[in-house]
Symmetry: C2
Subunit: 337 residues, 2 copies
């Protein structure tokens, strides 16, 4: 169906080389006569020629494709970042294969492997695992990649994260400033460093205000089943400690579910409770106007991650090996109240 370089060459009684030069835009640099160039281009158009990028990639050793691995593309936070990544990639003539790891280490492993086999030029990963040999392996192989959202502080990698501790601190501080004293923290995946940091921020804010940190007000739920789990856990929490007057949510998903729950079971929700959460969700602020939000700079996260990666790929491609000059970026959230 599709015609190839060879077809054009034969048709024109030229060599594949010549045709290749002009069609890949190197006609002038290679001193192909203008007439020949025009001829080839014209014929290519007539024959509806489309280059086979697969063949080109195999030959040149670059696919102009990135691999993106995130917990789930249907999570708005990651979807927004994915969008920014895609845009930046498109600007640079890259496309992206997107993969949801489902927070499953095994699937993450398989995905990375598959993407490497498909010869993507680089990876952007929000890793799920605590300590990862595969990541170390990537480093050893000098495979270009950048981590975001989560990272490994003791590994020398590119990464883009946000100021988690500070954000949490700022937002909880504002809830305290409203006069709330008994603030519960709802969290998940606490084995992740970023969650620890958010907890630390929460703690710091309380301590600074002279409030004792109460372990009983720390609630952790399992992400995979939070809808059910939260209902149960919140019920217990609020019956044992009916004087709770505030919540800090370490993710927007937890905020959504909890506020839903509260609306179902309490009146005057926003009078009774103060709220703080990480990441903005469109309607949350309407529902709880007193909510303090640390808004994530999603565009920047995606844009930075992609451009850092593409930069590294390009360098590598051109043989410029700037050994171990990895870039780590910490972006700031915006506090909304």
């Amino acid at each position: 169906m599709g015609c190839s370089l060879k077809d054009i060459a034969e048709d024109l009684k030229l060599s594949k080389t010549t045709v290749s030069w002009v069609l890949s835009g190197n006609g002038n640099r290679r001193n192909i006569s203008i007439e020949t160039q025009e001829l080839v281009k014209k014929r290519a158009r007539e024959m509806n020629y489309e280059p086979n990028l697969l063949a080109k990639s195999l030959s040149k050793g670059i696919t102009h494709t990135l691999g993106l691995i995130i917990p789930s593309i249907s999570d708005l936070f990651y979807a927004q970042i994915a969008k920014a990544i895609e845009l930046e990639a498109w600007k640079n003539n890259f496309s992206v294969i997107f993969c949801s790891s489902e927070s499953d280490p095994q699937k993450e492993f398989d995905l990375i492997r598959m993407l490497k086999q498909k010869q993507v030029d680089g990876l952007i990963i929000a890793p799920t695992k605590k300590n990862d040999n595969q990541i170390k392996q990537l480093i050893v192989e000098k495979y270009p990649f950048v981590l975001f959202d989560r990272y490994y502080p003791n590994l020398n990698t590119n990464y883009v994260i946000i100021n988690n501790e500070e954000s949490a601190y700022n937002v909880v501080k504002r809830v305290i400033a409203e006069g709330r004293r008994k603030i519960a923290i709802i969290t998940t995946n606490s084995y992740l460093l970023l969650m620890k940091m958010r907890y630390n921020g929460y703690k710091k804010a309380l301590e600074e205000a002279g409030i004792k940190v109460d372990e009983n007000l720390l609630i952790e739920v399992n992400v995979t089943d939070y809808e059910n789990e939260l209902n149960k856990v919140l019920y217990e929490l609020l019956s044992h400690y009916p004087d709770i007057d505030g919540f800090f949510f370490t993710t927007h998903i937890l905020a959504i579910e909890t506020i839903k729950y509260l609306y179902k079971h309490f009146d005057n929700v926003t009078k009774r409770f103060g709220f703080a959460c990480m990441h903005e969700e469109p309607l949350l602020h309407v529902l709880a106007p007193n909510l303090k939000i640390a808004r994530m700079p999603v565009q920047e996260i995606g844009q930075m991650a992609a451009s850092i990666l593409i930069e590294e790929i390009t360098m590598k491609q051109e043989g410029i090996i700037k050994e171990s000059e990895k870039v780590g970026i910490v972006l700031k959230s915006t506090i909304i109240e």
Copy 2:
């Protein structure tokens, strides 16, 4: 870095052919001795062999990659469908390159072209254009693809859509049943067939209830700038027709923005107005408990689209050409009140 078939073959003093047979799992079928098979596999493991899928694809003519083109991956509706597509693809050993067209016909065009050049085995598209030559071209070329969300009724293609008219009708009917009589419709992209269908459903519900359809209550906004536009337009609408007592939104985005606006400018929003909208958004229902929703079967849409496409690709691959036996699927929404 990575080693190839050839390396293993040389190392083992075997031919590439033999190594290829066993590593691609065809050892038995090709009568390679068990010992040789074990030997090869062992050595491959030791040498950390990973197949180059690019080369394999070029050779076999199948990439096991799909292209997905949607208006925007950061739109929750599309993100959910994308997730379902990805899952179904993964099950069948396919991966997917995702592309946001930004509702820009030119970008859509370029994306389809690029994906074809990258030799994706098939496309899943939520097309933006009214009438599309490129789509017709795909048909001529027998390029596997499936449309969803939007489609071209006069073209013989695979498609997966929902019962737009009926959904709109059902949901508006319920608002009327609550006693609302002056129901405005907020819509966008009315050139799209699916929007026309939703409008028809709205109209049908009104007419059936003996309510005159008032053109002045039909508001269309431009998606690309709806935040600003909506504010202005709603202000005017509500000053001219202060007795409006209900809204039907043809997309969840419009619902979100409008309800935000209403909460800012009115008290007793849910007493004063009845609401109906297409597609579910988590918090909307909490904010407006009287909202009638036509919930889209996002999982099914994605799952169906992907499996239809993969089915067709597989058929084509195996040379089974079931000429023009395209499948069109109309899924039903679920009404929530």
